[in-house]
Point group: C2
Chain length 382, copies 2
């Protein structure tokens, strides 16, 4: 397998883009990534998206976006793994370059959610769960997170308020990210008073659904120095799955796919969790942040909130997370989020993270699909 | 790149499966493919599907199908390229094995269309076109095919009846395929009297939308002899795209993506159209069969119907097409069709095509997404 590097990144602000369509957002991110790589042409495009069929009656985003970005008659396909679709597209771009089939590849994650009303968008989001056995019984993504969080507090003897540091940390970091949807800090007191979405999941436990697009340019590591920006190596790219419905899992509070995907990534990169300088995790809900830290070996079972309370997830902590705001403050445009995570990792590894810069040589991103049935992990290094 | 072979195939009958859900159909095809390969475990699963989100409120088919097929915690992702989604999943499986990232890979194409009424299914199918500039203006897939066919008759001085041999040939071959939706021949007279769908596209010009699933097992060619069935090599796997909206194309009667995808495939395999013994093309509409033959070098511009009328597309002709019924008679379960084509090619190349068996060493399959904006070509050989 050829080694693969990232030589270009681009992103739109995550948020409510009333004047921009799905194709506009994708093209904006792609143009930024091509400019960053000092490139005009690529050999292939892989698009990560979850809901454009349901929300905008548009499938076939590979051809659509290649067309509207003026990329010519290149190979272009869409990959979907629910909320992890963006990371899945990165995985596919990685395979295309690693195999030798393609040399210079664009990966774009895009989601346009504000073309539908919030209720429709939320219902469509449920299609990442088991439709027959969860969604059609009335469960939504926030409801599943609520059940998991409630069980967690019961099982491990913690309180709802113990999850506050995840939201506070994400918002503190998002305040310095010009691409974040919410660029303002919140306090633990505000968290305590936040309105409930699905008890005990409050507004400040749930990342906001929104519009957005992010893109990266991949190429073989041996030619990476020819491009405009400082290359970042993909040291690992892995996917694992779990039972789709939470009630089918042996332990609803252990993210088996996240665990396996991380283990495979550590093995590929020849490292362990102790070598990882930052971890962009899937904090769609604060409970998922805690469970991800535990599954990936950064905290013991039931101790995810402790790690957060001890300040270890902050920029100066042992394992900084959500360093550019995470899904919580940057916003969660579902099929784009996995690519935003990679863009943010690259930003840190290049030393371009401004006020949020941490010292780092090795970073990990992990994206979850549905309530954790798919986990896709990338380890990047300079 | 490692060489890749197909060592297992499986399929359900294409048709109306009122008692089987999407996940049931996928599992049926997968079990058949695993049995054919004499295998119980695989390393990864790639699923081709177009419309499960719209029609059954279920996305995240990678994790769902890996779960329900009992495949364990393997890598599992879905790929989408409208009607070419199945072929796109084969392309992704090919990249995973060729790269060395995975050794034994399942590819499954599945579509469940009868859970929605025909109008809803037809509208959802339009999401493979340009939603904003074609579908929302009232165009449907049959309507676009009607415009193209009408223009073709005008441009090249042929009649609607000249397309009859495509339908007659497909139905003659489908009559001997136990997995085909329509296992009965039709006559040129019946074609002449068929009811119009979108003038001049009649019922017998349009392939029927339906349910179905097909699966293949891929592995490195060097280990292919270890499995249960006679291996078939993937000599080429290519993707090309064109402008999404037909009105944006320089020439609406030339399938640029089909042309480029075929050219790239010929180059990869080191062959030309003269070496191809059979061609499983995308006959969702008879006009697309004619245009595909022309774009891929089997007929001159405007001579696709001539080739058919001269009997050259029949089993004993120069370039047999739709040898197991094609989309027209086997049925067109959108995101599954591209995998059915591969299964049918393998059936021929193994010499297991029964009454429809032709002498062949090299076969080509081409799947089109939307009205030809994506074309995915595979060349297989023994």
């Amino acid at each position: 397998m050829r080694k693969v590097s990232i030589v270009g990144i681009g992103q739109t602000k995550a948020g409510e883009h009333w004047q921009r369509s799905l194709r506009d957002l994708a093209v904006d991110a792609i143009k930024a990534a091509l400019q960053d790589a000092n490139l005009e042409r690529v050999d292939a495009l892989y698009v990560g998206n979850m809901l454009s069929g349901e929300l905008t009656a548009q499938q076939h985003l590979g051809a659509l976006i290649a067309d509207w970005a003026g990329l010519g008659n290149i190979e272009a396909l869409r990959v979907e793994a629910a909320d992890a679709s963006g990371a899945a597209a990165v995985r596919m771009g990685y395979l295309a370059v690693a195999s030798g089939a393609q040399d210079v590849v664009l990966v774009c994650g895009v989601e346009k959610m504000t073309d539908a009303d919030a209720e429709t968008a939320n219902a469509a989001w449920s299609s990442g769960m088991d439709a027959e056995n969860e969604a059609l019984q009335g469960l939504s993504m926030p409801a599943i997170a609520g059940l998991m969080m409630h069980r967690y507090t019961h099982e491990f003897g913690v309180q709802r308020q113990d999850f506050a540091p995840f939201a506070v940390n994400a918002h503190a970091n998002g305040a310095n990210n010009p691409y974040a949807m919410y660029q303002r800090p919140i306090s633990a007191e505000a968290y305590a008073k936040a309105g409930m979405v699905a008890d005990p999941v409050s507004m400040f436990d749930a990342a906001p659904l929104c519009d957005g697009a992010a893109a990266v340019v991949l190429c073989p590591s041996e030619t990476a120095s020819e491009f405009g920006s400082k290359p970042v190596r993909i040291r690992a790219a892995t996917v694992a799955t779990d039972r789709l419905a939470v009630h089918d899992r042996k332990d609803p509070l252990f993210l088996q796919a996240a665990y396996l995907s991380a283990q495979r990534a550590y093995q590929q990169a020849g490292v362990g969790p102790g070598h990882i300088d930052l971890f962009e995790l899937h904090d769609a809900f604060t409970i998922m942040a805690a469970l991800s830290l535990e599954a990936c070996g950064f905290a013991e079972r039931g101790k995810g909130t402790h790690l957060a309370q001890e300040g270890e997830i902050a920029l100066q902590g042992r394992i900084p997370i959500s360093t550019m705001g995470g899904l919580k403050a940057r916003g969660n445009p579902l099929g784009a989020s996995g690519v935003y995570q990679i863009v943010e990792l690259v930003t840190q590894l290049r030393g371009e993270a401004g006020a949020n810069q941490i010292g780092c040589h090795l970073g990990m991103a992990q994206s979850l699909g549905g309530s954790g049935a798919t986990a896709i992990t990338h380890i990047l290094g300079v």
